[in-house]
Symmetry: D2
Subunit: 278 residues, 4 copies
């Protein structure tokens, strides 16, 4: 893979610093929150739970890439405010997905991290735009992308000058119908072998059902993931999207405790909130 | 699939008229040309071959979605001129791929059909933009998209007001390594059963090797495809991309003859050039 | 693939003669019949239809490999008699699936061709036993077998001394849910390129729904298949297995006519019944 | 899945006792050894390493299902003696793969556990024969088997009267070329949710490269696997099969220590050798 000029691992692996949070270091970073931002109250409750669980980053989608044009498409800028306010109150960083130039522009300066989703992993124009930003990027693996293609997509961002890219494995498409996707933890190991960037795991989209999320989250940490991106909703039954795969706050807190134990068992930690405003 | 409000087949299937070419009617439409536009001369020779073969549409990429940021990215507007001039000389229509708002704007009014590639099948912003145009769209199936998702992507364009969408099957990702992708001709039959839009087939990207293209092209026509999108290059050995899967002009002409015989055997025709400037 | 000592194609492709039927020659061979043999009358009616359609071989399973141990497992030797009697009355050859040494022994001398199913493609003991027989073998591709593995499975039979092996593509497993399997017609072309043995296609198991069978059958013939193995049941609604994918006699006859036209369009024929008892 | 009459989980999960080893209990069981038995000395060294690592079961193939008929097919009964002697010296149990009635008969009474491999998961005759035995069976998931089909294959064995079945996930076939197979840890969680039988994981065949085995083994234990089946060879560079994915004794010992730590972190243990001859 000679094309991985900037992404290829030469020796050690990179730590990516975002304000007071480090991804790819000794700590396993926990990111949580709902699939879609729905209301100020929903986000406040989500943020409180993430903070209580030892998580450092609050997620919430305001621009949703929906398979059907008639599905809920997100709250847009209004949602962005709910996300930012809730995170600020709990001293959390924020991450939200961008879909295109317009959404990229609208979230600019409003979030700490942008996410490029699985369906846009090979949206090269978006990758190039993200490469020109100073904002860190979580780059999800495409549904049917090989590890090599995923790393080349990261290379697009790096080549543009943005060095803070975090890879995120979220399951691939296979013939197995009992899960929404098949989480590919080998890909985490392979990506870490070939590339110096941190690799986190989203067990929620892989599983598609909350019952399976804890097992996959724990497996990911034991398998070397640098962080977890987990869907949690104050009231999954009423979620506007992905309710079936969202943990309740109670489940999220329990899982966070188990993850902390496991992180220690593999010589890592779960980074505590530094309680320093940055 | 209640979400296919506009794409769902109620009774018959739709014919899409683009100038004097009809796709989805009794004639099987042949589209040919190189993966990437490289020079004026290359396009002239390609256009002459397409015309001679009874093809009606000239293809050529000027904005290339490349897996690596360091690969040839296309000639841009310069290439667009070569494509348009070569097509005009042979009374062919033109199709080229767009990647984003910028390329969409630059090809506007310069080509007869735009193509949205496999990697962008769920780039919803691009689909929405294409929905606002008056230009017909060839929408390729994503590498790992289900037929349902493909039709929902078409629905995005239709919902925007653009009724002229042509679906294109181009192979899906499977475990089989002997071909670049696995051409899924069942998907053509399923798409035609569920949706009224024309469905064409690109055997070149599916096969990845020119030796296999004729068999797959013929299978596609016998299986009911409304057209073929075939890569052909005046000199495949020197092609800047996808040379291995490009037919030579001679192979393209031979295949066109075989396709014509087959089209008749399934009660269709290959539309002759009307020799009417539009 | 140095291991294809006997299966590799050196120059031309092989014709396999079974009594007065030749597979792999200029004629496309039509094999039809129900998934499972259920009664004497069912088989008589199936045989009449196959004969009328210009088919040469009657299929019918008497030992069924069922996913559940509680499903109908086949009539065994009793079914074998129904199959043989029905075929004899219409001057057809017979083919049935074998699962193991015991079923192999019981069908020995009772059928003209044995079939090794997809699930047993890598049952090496069964392949070795089949290699010692003088009976021709239809070897189906495994659900997730690469073309290379399929040809190596054929090599097991050839290496045992049985030269009459017919390959059969029947669809592979992919993420696409709208069909039971994804018919891989590229595999037919690849197998014919690498191996001298005839390659036939089973569109019924690939599609899983009768509506899709004609399109796939026609595509297969145009794509170069040497024959078709099609499920047809006198009364699909009452079939004990695979009813949904079985054609009715009327559909089978109509398809046979279309296949004959297509076969001619690709320079082949459909072999007429020689009307010679053998 | 009404057909899972015996395999379906009603309440708790089953523990399977084999002499003094319990699979599916609180302890995570470690099984190690080479892909193929090659010599007495090789097996002695492997057995010593397994014992030293806290493993309880020695694996070694004597009948090998090889993709090519010209590859090494195993030592047969001679190999069986090497396996048994080496295990006895270290107070380990033994497991070996059976392929058919003949190999089943030859290993009868010679090993503690038989293994049915991925390629034979739907060899129903073999499943039925295994169902009549009193010997526990490790049933590997097929390369492209759904979890439902895998559990139904187990049901075949249970329905025959043999209640001691251990499921083993070993990777499925996907489009990803960077690993031999894609380990599907979701399948472990799903199988444990639907079925009461123990589920172990074989990370070696999934990964295909020893570098990836530790990460996958640890992920499996954290994800809830009841045991690990790991290839280890005293001298991988000279292994007659699967050398690239075999751990060295040193790597195996190191991994066993890490697994023990992880097992404790998820509330389990690694069962120590009881030092009681049975």
């Amino acid at each position: 893979m000679e094309s991985l000029r900037l992404a290829a691992r030469k020796s050690g692996r990179s730590e990516i610093r975002i304000k007071d949070v480090v991804i790819g270091g000794s700590a396993v970073v926990l990111i949580g929150g709902p699939c879609a931002v729905e209301s100020a109250e929903q986000m406040q409750r989500a943020a409180q739970t993430v903070r209580q669980a030892g998580g450092r980053i609050l997620r919430g989608g305001v621009y949703k890439p929906r398979t059907s044009p008639y599905s809920f498409q997100g709250l847009g800028v209004e949602g962005l405010r709910y996300l930012a306010d809730a995170a600020a109150a709990e001293e959390l960083l924020t991450v939200t997905e961008v879909l295109d130039e317009e959404s990229l522009r609208s979230v600019s300066g409003q979030v700490d991290i942008i996410q490029i989703g699985a369906r846009n992993m090979q949206n090269y124009q978006l990758l190039k735009l993200a490469g020109r930003l100073d904002t860190p990027v979580i780059l999800k693996r495409g549904l049917a992308a090989t590890v090599e293609e995923w790393l080349l997509a990261a290379e697009y961002i790096l080549a543009g000058g943005n060095a803070r890219v975090i890879l995120c494995e979220r399951g691939i498409r296979t013939f197995e119908p009992s899960t929404r996707n098949t989480l590919d933890l080998s890909a985490v190991a392979v990506a870490q072998e070939l590339c110096h960037l941190p690799v986190i795991v989203d067990p929620s989209h892989a599983a598609g059902r909350r019952e399976l999320v804890p097992a996959l989250a724990k497996a990911a940490v034991a398998g070397g993931a640098d962080g977890l991106l987990i869907e949690m909703h104050p009231n999954p039954a009423e979620a506007k999207s992905d309710g079936a795969q969202s943990l309740t706050p109670e489940e999220f807190l329990r899982l966070a405790g188990e993850v902390e134990t496991l992180a220690r068992a593999v010589g890592r930690s779960v980074q505590p909130v530094a309680r320093v405003r940055t």
